[in-house]
C-alpha cells in the first residue's frame, strides 16, 4: 500500500558528497555573479550584438521553463481531466515548477543589462503608466511568467502552511496557517485554473518571440504555427519531467514510485508527440519549404535530429506492452526532454543567423553561471523537500535516523 500523505523527508540538507560539492560550487557561483554585476555582461559572457541572446535565455529561461512545466502537466491531469490518482505527484511537480520558474526569473535578472528597472514591468511602468506596449510578445511573456511564479508558490502554499500549523511554536503563525488553509479550500479552484491558463499563454508566446527575428530565423523554424508547436512540445516535456522526477526522487529519497499512474501518462505522450510531428511536417510541406529539410547543411542535421528525438520516444511508447515497462518510459521521457530542449535551442540560437561575421559560443563563466542556476535550484529543492511536506510515501519519514546516499 502506498502512503499518500506528504511528509518532510527530514535530515540535514547537506548530507552527502554531492550536496557538499553543491554548496561549495554555489559559493563560487555567488562570486562570479558579483563579478558579472560589477563589470557588465560582456566581460563574463560571449554575447555580442549579433547574438544578444545566448544560453541564459535559450536554456535557463526558455528550456528551463518548459522543463518546469511538470506542474502544468500534472495540474491538467489531476484537476482538469480529473485523474485524481495523480495527486501524490502534484506537490513535487509544483515544487519543481515553482523553483524552475523562479530560477528562470533569476536568470533573467542576470541576463538583462538594466535590471534595476525590472520592477516597472509588473507595475505597468509606474509612474509612467502608458508605457506598456501591447504589440510586444515579450510583454505578455514577462507578465505571464511573473504572475505564474506567484501562482506556483501560492499553489504550494498548503505545504508550508501545513508544516507551520503542525510544528510551529508561534501561535500567531499557527493561526495564520489555519486561516490560510481554509482560504485555500475555497479559492484553490481559481488559483489552479490560473496555473493552467498562464503557461498555456506564455509557453506558446515564447515561440512567437523569435518570429520577430524575421529573416534571421531559418525557414524550417520560422512559421506562424510556432506558438502551437511550442505549446505542444511543452506539454510533452512537462509529462516527461514528471516521469523522470518521480523516478529519481523515489530512488534518492527511498519512496515508492507511482508506476501505474505514470504508465497511463505515457499513452498521452504518444498523442502529444504525434501531433507535434504532424503539425511540423504539414506546415513545412504546405509552405513549400520541403527542400529546406535537406539543403540547409548543418541546420538540416539539427532539424532531423529534433525530429528523431520526437519520433523515437513516440515509437518506443506506441505499444501498451512497451508502456508497461517503466524503464522504457523513463528512457522515452529523457528523449522527449532532449527533443523539446533541442527544438528551443535551435529556434533561439542555432537557427538564428544575424548575418555574416557573427558567431556565438558561451564562455566558461557564462556556462558556470548557468550551471550555478541549476545547482541553486537543486539545492533549494533538496532544502524544501527535507523541511516541508512535499513528498509522500517516503520511508525516510518513518525511519527517523535514516540518512540516504545519492
Amino acid at each position: 500500500m502506498s502512503e499518500h500523505r506528504a511528509e518532510p523527508v527530514g535530515g540535514p540538507v547537506i548530507f552527502n558528497r554531492f550536496t557538499k560539492f553543491l554548496a561549495i560550487f554555489l559559493g563560487l557561483w555567488v562570486l562570479i555573479l558579483a563579478y558579472r554585476f560589477a563589470t557588465g555582461i560582456g566581460t563574463v559572457s560571449g554575447l555580442t550584438d549579433g547574438y544578444p541572446w545566448g544560453i541564459w535565455i535559450a536554456f535557463d529561461v526558455v528550456t528551463g521553463t518548459a522543463l518546469a512545466c511538470g506542474g502544468y502537466a500534472i495540474a491538467i491531469l489531476a484537476y482538469i481531466l480529473n485523474k485524481g490518482k495523480y495527486h501524490p505527484l502534484v506537490r513535487p511537480a509544483l515544487l519543481t515548477s515553482a523553483l524552475g520558474y523562479s530560477m528562470a526569473a533569476l536568470a533573467i535578472v542576470i541576463d538583462v543589462g538594466r535590471w534595476w528597472g525590472i520592477w516597472r514591468i509588473p507595475l505597468g511602468g509606474f509612474p509612467d503608466m502608458g508605457s506598456y506596449n501591447w504589440n510586444s510578445a515579450l510583454l505578455e511573456v514577462a507578465l505571464c511568467v511573473m504572475a505564474y511564479v506567484g501562482v506556483l508558490w501560492i499553489e504550494l502554499g498548503p505545504a508550508f502552511l501545513e508544516k507551520w500549523e503542525a510544528t510551529s511554536k508561534n501561535s500567531a503563525l499557527v493561526g495564520f496557517a489555519k486561516f490560510g488553509l481554509k482560504f485555500y479550500d475555497k479559492a484553490l479552484i481559481w488559483i489552479i485554473a490560473l496555473g493552467v491558463l498562464l503557461p498555456t499563454m506564455h509557453q506558446s508566446s515564447l515561440g512567437t518571440l523569435m518570429l520577430l527575428g524575421g529573416h534571421k530565423l531559418h525557414g524550417l523554424w520560422s512559421t506562424g504555427w510556432i506558438p502551437l508547436l511550442y505549446l505542444i512540445s511543452c506539454i510533452g516535456m512537462g509529462y516527461a519531467v514528471v516521469v523522470w522526477e518521480s523516478a529519481v526522487s523515489s530512488k534518492v529519497f527511498k519512496r515508492e514510485r507511482e508506476d501505474s499512474m505514470l504508465i497511463s501518462l505515457s499513452g498521452a505522450m504518444v498523442v502529444v508527440l504525434g501531433l507535434y510531428l504532424l503539425l511540423r511536417f504539414a506546415d513545412i510541406v504546405i509552405s513549400g519549404k520541403t527542400m529546406l529539410m535537406f539543403t540547409s547543411g548543418v541546420l538540416s542535421i539539427m532539424f532531423w535530429l529534433e525530429i528523431a528525438l520526437f519520433a523515437i520516444p513516440m515509437v518506443m511508447l506506441m505499444r501498451a506492452k512497451d508502456r508497461a515497462n517503466f524503464a522504457t518510459i523513463f528512457k522515452a521521457s529523457m528523449l522527449i526532454m532532449l527533443a523539446g530542449g533541442l527544438y528551443r535551442f535551435d529556434s533561439y540560437l542555432t537557427a538564428f543567423n544575424p548575418g555574416e561575421g557573427w558567431s556565438y559560443f558561451p564562455t566558461t563563466l557564462e556556462l558556470l553561471i548557468t550551471l550555478g542556476v541549476i545547482s541553486f535550484e537543486i539545492f533549494l529543492y533538496i532544502f524544501i523537500v527535507k523541511r516541508y511536506p512535499i513528498l509522500s510515501g517516503t520511508r525516510a519519514a518513518q525511519v527517523p535516523a535514516y540518512e540516504g546516499r545519492a
Binding site: 514510485r257 501505474s260 524503464a327 529523457m334 561575421g357 559560443f361 558561451p362 566558461t364 556556462l367 558556470l368
Partner: protein
C-alpha cells in the same frame, strides 16, 4: 662657389684646407648623418674616408630636365654643411656645376668612368625620350638612351633624382610627344633607386647617396624603387591638416573662411591621399611650411606617376580604403579551450547520467514500483 669650381674635376682636397679642425669635421659629419637619418657611425665613416682621401665618385647625368633637382640640392646649405657633403663625394661629372664644357667635359666623363669603373654612383636627372630612337635628347651626338645605358652599365649604384628621372615627369605628360620615360624604364633589370618629386626633396637624395657611401648599402625600397624612409607613407597620413579632414572641416574656395582658418584642402583637389612623399615632415630648404599645403595650396602629387601632370589640379583625390571596414566585418570568436571543455564535460555528464539512470531503472525496475 669659386673654391668648388677649382676643385671640381680635381678629386683631391681636404676639408682641413677650409680651416676646420678634425674634431669639428667629425662632429659636422655626424650631424650631417643625423640630418639624413643615418646613424652617427655613418658620419664617422665618412670622416674617416674623407681623411683617407677615399671619396667615392659620382657621375651626374642630365637629360630632359629643368635642373630644378640640382638647384634644390644646392639649397641644402646651412653654412658649410653642403660643401662638406660635396667634399665627401667626388663629383666627377655634372653639366650644370662644371666650368668645363664640350669636348673637355666629355673627356672628363670618359676618364672618370675608366678610373672608377664599377665604383661610382650614377645619378640621373631628367627623363629619357624613346621616340624615333631617342633622338630628341642628344648630348655630344649620343642619345640619352645610349649615354644612360653606357654609364649605368659600369656604375655601382644608379639613383634617379626627381620625378622626371623616376617615371617621366613633365616631359611624359599627355600627349608625351617624345615618349619620355624614367631611368627604370630604360634600365630594366637593374635596381634603380628613384627619388621622385618636383623637385625632389634634397634630403631624401642625400640620405640615400650618403648611406651608400658610408655603409655600402641602399635603404629599403618599395616596388617602385623609392626609399621607404621617405616615400613609405602618403601625405595624407602625415598631414598637419589631417585633423580638419577627419572632422569634416574643409576649405571650399581659396580665400574663404575655411581657407583662412587653415582647414583641409581636400575639397580643393588636394592629392595628399594619393601621393607618397614626406614633404609634410621634412621641409624644403629648412623652411617650415615651405611646401604647397603649408602655404595653403592643395598638393598636386608631384612625386606620383598618374597623379602629377595627369590629374587636374582641382579634381578630387581618391581616398585609400584601408581605413574603411567591409560591409560585414569579422566579429567571430572561437570558444576558449576552457569553455569548450566545460560545455563538453556538461554535455557528456548529462548523456552519461541519462544512460546510467536508464540502466539503473532497467535493473531495479520492478523492485520499487507499485501496481
Amino acid at each position: 662657389m669659386g673654391r668648388r669650381d677649382e676643385r671640381l674635376g680635381v678629386p683631391d682636397g681636404s676639408p682641413q684646407e677650409e680651416g676646420l679642425g678634425r674634431r669639428d669635421f667629425v662632429k659636422a659629419c655626424m650631424m650631417a648623418a643625423a640630418a639624413v637619418g643615418l646613424p652617427a657611425s655613418a658620419g664617422l665613416k665618412w670622416a674617416e674616408a674623407a681623411e683617407a682621401g677615399l671619396k667615392p665618385s659620382v657621375i651626374w647625368l642630365h637629360f630632359q630636365e629643368c635642373t630644378g633637382c640640382t638647384e634644390s640640392l644646392l639649397r641644402t646649405s646651412s653654412p658649410g654643411i653642403a660643401e662638406l657633403i660635396l667634399d665627401l663625394v667626388s663629383l666627377d661629372y655634372h653639366e650644370t656645376l662644371f666650368a668645363a664644357a664640350g669636348y673637355q667635359i666629355e673627356e672628363a666623363l670618359h676618364q672618370a668612368m675608366e678610373a672608377h669603373a664599377g665604383q661610382y654612383v650614377c645619378v640621373v636627372e631628367g627623363a629619357i625620350p624613346r621616340k624615333d630612337g631617342g633622338i630628341y635628347c642628344q648630348i655630344g651626338g649620343r642619345t640619352a638612351i645610349d649615354i644612360l645605358e653606357d654609364v649605368a652599365s659600369k656604375a655601382a649604384a644608379v639613383v634617379a633624382i626627381g620625378s622626371c628621372a623616376s617615371w617621366g615627369g613633365i616631359p611624359s605628360a599627355d600627349p608625351n610627344p617624345t615618349d619620355a620615360v624614367g631611368a627604370p624604364q630604360i634600365l630594366e633589370g637593374t635596381t634603380v633607386v628613384t627619388i621622385p618629386g618636383c623637385p625632389a626633396n634634397p634630403y631624401n637624395f642625400l640620405g640615400t647617396v650618403l648611406q651608400f657611401v658610408a655603409l655600402g648599402s641602399l635603404p629599403a625600397l618599395d616596388d617602385k624603387g623609392r626609399p621607404l624612409f621617405a616615400y613609405g607613407r602618403t601625405i595624407h597620413e602625415h598631414c598637419p591638416r589631417r585633423a580638419h579632414f577627419d572632422a569634416g572641416r574643409f576649405a571650399r574656395q581659396f580665400g574663404d573662411e575655411g581657407h583662412r582658418l587653415g582647414y583641409c584642402l581636400f575639397a580643393l583637389g588636394c592629392k595628399g591621399p594619393e601621393t607618397h612623399a614626406n614633404c609634410s615632415t621634412l621641409s624644403f630648404g629648412e623652411m617650415p611650411d615651405a611646401w604647397p599645403i603649408g602655404i595653403g595650396h592643395p598638393c598636386f602629387g608631384c612625386t606620383e606617376q598618374g597623379v602629377a601632370f595627369h590629374k587636374p589640379l582641382h579634381q578630387e583625390a581618391a581616398l585609400p580604403e584601408n581605413a574603411v571596414p567591409p560591409i560585414h566585418p569579422d566579429h567571430r570568436t572561437s570558444p576558449s579551450a576552457a569553455a569548450a571543455g566545460v560545455a563538453g564535460l556538461v554535455g557528456g555528464a548529462v548523456v552519461g547520467a541519462g544512460l546510467m539512470a536508464s540502466k539503473k531503472m532497467a535493473e531495479g525496475g520492478n523492485e520499487e514500483g507499485s501496481s
